[in-house]
């Protein structure tokens, strides 16, 4: 293994994994079964040099590895056009290099929506923050938040340091958020999960949060919202939803038998404050709608089609929806993508709308159903965000101005 071409890449990958183990004070390495690769997202020439080094050194992947979003959409190169700048050309080249390395080109930040996800207790490599949180919390797989290069080195060696969230003792909850005092209509709103996630991220610090009082009917789209929002406003690679997520059938299980050290009762005032933090200025006119951060799921498509009911998007409003190519194909097979596109919705795969450089000169007031989008986009693009439920986004798109449902958390 140390001789020949493949040895050079494997050796460098192993040196990197061992250095990470030393820094993390891990006593051993453990096997992984899967990796979600973030290094395919362009962040300067060094990214390209790294993967080219690995390819030239004959790197082979030891485990299945799926790609996160790229900066460019391979399905629509005009969005961020590789012929228009060196950065976009290299970003495009980078994505193709990871396909050559053997990654499965799923190009999504929500790989857990695709068939073939890991099982409870399986050790994996997650990288994108919402996916790390979803895999740990909802799937019950085990991953730390892996950064660029280490994700690839782990996929080449099939090994990671046995540290942090790979170990039982670090997965116990350390802080309780109690939502059981909230009104049923709040608990039934899709926006609630985004606002709750934002609040939990703000207040958790380095502790693992547990949430008590969520409805049993909350679905994976709701849990995705918590994962994404909490890892944007804070660093929450793992949370437990009591009675819902697999490591938290009971309060005792979530805290691993220890007493609850600290608890916070979540109020409607907390949620309204979260909403205000994520864009409460309604004065400027609406320019666009952005859905699908993290990538839209099949069930979200179903709900959107039902809410929009083939009504046209108002003139002058750009309506963007980002999703994975896998979910796009599923939605197309159901006849939904044609109906949405006919109504004026632009569906984008492989990438996201909040990354810089901005697509199609998007600017001004943008309404989104995503706390993550609302948290990041105004810092990266010339936009102001306003957050709303999926229904509020749809009604606003049809009306051409921000429409809020007064029944709904406002």
């Amino acid at each position: 293994m140390l001789a020949g071409k493949s040895g050079r890449a494997a050796r460098f990958a192993m040196e990197t994994v061992l250095a990470a183990a030393r820094i993390d004070c891990a006593e051993r390495l453990i096997d992984i079964s899967f990796a979600h690769i973030d290094a395919c997202f362009y962040n300067g020439r060094a990214h390209l040099d790294f993967v080219n080094f690995m390819l030239e050194a004959g790197a082979r992947l030891a485990v299945p590895a799926w790609t996160n979003n790229g900066l460019v959409s391979l399905n629509d190169l005009t969005l961020r056009d590789p012929s228009q700048s060196r950065e976009m050309r290299e970003a495009h080249e980078l994505m193709l290099a990871y396909v050559r390395l053997g990654c499965k080109p799923v190009w999504t930040c929500a790989p857990y929506q695709l068939p073939g996800r890991p099982g409870l207790g399986e050790h994996i490599v997650g990288s994108e923050s919402n996916a790390v949180s979803f895999y740990n919390s909802v799937v019950g797989a085990r991953t730390n938040k892996y950064g660029d290069y280490l994700d690839v080195c782990a996929a080449i060696t099939g090994r990671v340091p046995d540290s942090k969230l790979h170990r039982d003792e670090n997965r116990a909850a350390g802080l309780l958020f109690d939502v059981s005092g909230l009104a049923p209509r709040i608990l039934g709103s899709d926006l609630f999960y985004h606002l709750l996630g934002h609040f939990v991220g703000r207040r958790s610090g380095h502790r693992v949060p547990a949430i008590l009082g969520l409805r049993e009917s909350c679905n994976e789209d709701d849990l995705k919202a918590i994962s994404a929002a909490a890892s944007s406003s804070g660093a929450v690679p793992l949370f437990h939803a009591i009675g819902i997520t697999p490591e938290a059938p009971t309060l005792e299980a979530a805290f691993r038998g220890e007493a609850v050290p600290d608890s916070i009762e979540v109020t409607s005032a907390d949620l309204n404050l979260a909403r205000a933090e994520l864009g409460g200025d309604l004065a400027t006119p609406l320019a666009a709608i952005a859905l699908g951060t993290p990538h839209f799921s099949y069930t979200e498509f179903e709900r959107l089609v039902e809410l929009l009911a083939d009504r046209p998007v108002a003139p002058g409003i750009d309506f963007y929806l980002t999703t994975s190519r896998h979910v796009f194909d599923q939605a197309r097979a159901s006849g939904w993508t044609d109906r949405l596109e006919n109504a004026g919705v632009r569906i984008i795969t492989d990438t996201c709308t909040y990354f810089s450089p901005v697509i199609n000169n998007l600017q001004g007031k943008v309404m989104t159903n995503s706390a993550k989008w609302a948290y990041y986009a105004p810092g990266m693009l010339p936009v102001q965000a306003v957050i709303g439920s999926l229904r509020e986004c749809v009604e606003s798109a049809v009306r051409g101005s921000v429409v809020l449902d007064s029944e709904n958390l406002a």
């Binding site: 990470a20 030393r22 300067g44 990214h47 994108e128 950064g147 290069y149 660093a235």
Partner: protein, 133 residues
């Protein structure tokens, strides 16, 4: 010593944690995080002291890119062990044949270091500060 190497240069002591993705421009080594007290400061050519790490999957790439194009620090001295910074430096050292060390020191010692003080790191990981006994 987290990553071995030798370096010598002026200390730049950050007052707060920094994310090297989003809060930092790897093209020129400038701190761009609007919430950071040292926004606008450039880290190039310094021995960079960072009290606390802040995680982002993009941090190793930001580090490797700033080291590649020569706008990065000569060494990193951390108040907390940080895998992302370590991996970014390790990869850059390997790809570009650099010798950028990464050290961890006590945070109590870090707060006593003055900006601009001449710092030397030797291959054994010893940190020598001008004016120190």
């Amino acid at each position: 010593m987290l990553i071995a190497g030798r370096a010598s240069g002026p200390a730049l002591v950050l007052d707060e944690a920094l994310s090297f993705w989003g809060g930092f421009d790897p093209a020129n080594g400038e701190i761009i995080d609007v919430h950071h007290p040292q926004r606008g400061c450039r880290v190039g050519g310094s021995i960079l002291f960072i009290p606390e790490s802040r995680g982002s999957a993009g941090t190793p790439g930001g580090i490797a890119e700033t080291l590649r194009n020569g706008s990065g620090p000569l060494a990193f001295v951390l108040g907390e062990r940080d895998v992302n910074i370590g991996v970014g430096v390790l990869v850059a050292n390997r790809l570009y044949d650099l010798e950028v060390p990464v050290l961890e020191i006590d945070r109590a010692r870090m707060v006593e270091i003055e900006n601009g003080a001449r710092v030397t790191i030797d291959f054994a990981g010893e940190l020598l500060i001008e004016g120190d006994d």
